[in-house]
């Protein structure tokens, strides 16, 4: 009896020691605002997480929470991760900004990365992608391809990131067709396929023959496919849902950034920053150009190369909707102005909700 007991204790101790020895060096945790299966925004973040897992193998353990609503629930979720031993937490939506800062204050040893926000702290970094570069390109394609000269834009919330996307799209379109018209519908949600489909139908009924979106589901493109118009995928390649309707998509590739930051934590070199990279650094990728004539593809690729070479789509002359000048000829708009954009460019007839 005694020997069995001793044997059991020894076995237990060994397994305990063994499991400790196999523990990962870092636990990286991810908070998503939508389901991983949205095949858009959150899906792409999860692809980044999977890339981290693949790259680092056993050294890094990952965890994620999906469909966490922005607001008080978010704070609870982030805090739970911090308590669970996560060393690096990625909060992937603008609305997580204040919860992240709050939790970061309570856990100074945990590092936080907040996507698309603007508040940083010693242990909170922000990261963003220059999606507007992609928007400029699709704006150009839209102006070239549209027969009615009207595009429909399904927008989520009037935050600077969305507004700068709309403006960049318009500037791209205006560079081809100065009289291009844009109709914007605000659905006040990041993800509601039914509502997005309704908005797309309304826009098409109003004369738009190009649909683009800043929401996360594939519903608008599906509607475009059914109605015989065209559009652009958002955040990931949605060609499977709209074989004949998708021209291209703006794909967010978070993998290189995530791997880089995890490596920095492992090396002890992590520090807070505001990262903002785009096509040049490979954080924004255009999906293969489909359903387009060759000359339009050439034009798009040429613009891509131009942006890779350092050209900023928000380069003057840019006039605001109220007539004032935002940037003079040849002058680049400052980063701060783009990140805090709350005005429309001239040519958009709508009023911007405040």
């Amino acid at each position: 009896m005694k020997s069995i007991l001793r044997g059991a204790i020894a076995a237990l101790a060994l397994t305990a020691a063994g499991s400790v020895a196999q523990a990962a060096d870092l636990k990286a945790c991810f908070v998503y605002v939508g389901p991983v299966g949205d095949f858009g925004w959150s899906y792409q973040h999860d692809q980044g997480r999977l890339a981290v897992e693949e790259h680092f193998g056993d050294r890094v353990e990952t965890a994620y929470l999906e469909s966490v609503p922005e607001g008080p629930d978010a704070e609870r979720a982030i805090e739970r991760f911090a308590r669970d031993g996560c060393g690096l937490i990625f909060t992937t939506s603008f609305g997580y900004m204040n919860p992240t800062i709050k939790v970061a204050k309570k856990f100074p040893d945990v590092k936080f990365e907040h996507a698309t926000g603007y508040k940083t702290a010693d242990n909170v970094a922000t990261y963003n992608s220059k999606f507007h570069e992609g928007r400029y390109i699709i704006g150009q394609i839209a102006a070239k391809q549209s027969k009615t000269g009207v595009a429909g834009y399904i927008a989520s919330f009037p935050i600077p990131e969305v507004v700068s996307g709309i403006n960049a799209f318009m500037l791209g379109a205006q560079s081809i067709n100065p009289d291009f018209k844009l109709k914007v519908v605000w659905v006040n949600t990041w993800f509601d396929p039914g509502k997005e489909a309704d908005a797309a139908k309304a826009l098409i009924d109003q004369g738009a023959d190009i649909i683009t979106q800043h929401t996360d589901s594939t519903a608008p493109l599906q509607v475009a496919q059914e109605r015989g118009v065209h559009g652009f995928g958002q955040a990931s390649d949605m060609i499977n849902f709209a074989k004949d309707a998708q021209y291209t998509a703006i794909i967010d590739d978070w993998a290189p950034y995530y791997i880089e930051r995890v490596q920095e934590v492992l090396d002890g070199k992590w520090h807070s920053h505001s990262a903002w990279d785009g096509i040049a650094e490979g954080h924004v990728v255009m999906a293969p150009y489909t359903n387009l004539p060759d000359d339009v593809v050439e034009m798009a690729k040429a613009t891509e190369a131009k942006i890779k070479g350092g050209w900023e789509p928000f380069t003057g002359p840019i006039t605001k909707q109220d007539g004032t000048e935002a940037a003079a000829d040849g002058v680049r708009l400052e980063d701060g102005a783009i990140l805090g954009m709350n005005w429309y460019v001239k040519g958009i007839d709508d009023k911007l909700p405040q």
Binding site: W186, N188, A202, D205, Q206, T218
Partner: protein, 304 residues
Amino acid sequence: MFEAVLLTVITAATPLLIAAVGELVVERSGVLNLGVEGMMIMGAVVGFAVANQTGSGSLGVVAAIVAGMAMSALFGFLVLILVTNQVASGLALTILGLGLSGMIGEAFIGVPGLRLPELYIPVLSEIPFVGPVFFQQDALVYVSFLLVGAVSYMLFKTRAGLILRAVGDNHVSAHALGYSVVRVRFMAILFGGACAGLAGAYMSLAYTPQWVENMTAGRGWIALALVVFASWLPFRVVAGAYLFGAVTVLTFHAQAQGLGIPSQFLSSLPYLATIAVLVLISANRRLTLVNTPACLGKPFVPDR
């Protein structure tokens, strides 16, 4: 263009209509089933899954109905046999449905769906304006019209409907008269579940042919509210569903027109409009009181 708007209004209103009519029958029998959202989403995922695996939209619809009925059967067992609190059980059903559907649906995320074909009724759909709007819709829209007519006829013109309403108004007397309250209510609950499942199938097979988690996005709760809005009268449910659907669609058109109305206000407009109309039509208190099932939500335990 007005025709196109009307078409989208009909498609937006149909899932609400079907789910609400089912819930109306359940509530007329005296049971308050708050699980409509859960049953709807289960219908959506099962319908999509079966349609995807078998390649047949009709089989998907049938499977969705069965799934809705299965969920409601569970609810029926809880509230009729075990006599648990109806409100709590309904809420639990919703939460169960939402989670279970997410689990089942994981394999189907990102899979393009198949859409139910439209049915063209030969001569009638050629009529200039009314034709395409009313006679060139997918099958489930016609089912929704038929459903409302059938439920209205059954409730007010048949003996079965009379018994149902009697059970809902005074289950003690109905029991004393010899009617099996539990059996009547269970059948009503199954019917409500079938309708909710059908409404869910409409969402994932006709409205936006895909599956994403939470795709009903609260429509079950709106259907529930519409039943009360309609004072438990089938044709008023139609009015409510179409009002809600119309205002939702019109807010998008208003935005697309560039009318400059704040979009946040427009988002709340469908709910505000429904409340406003509710206040107006509730002016006739007698009508409301006459139609409210007096035993709604009350548990029934016969003294043996």
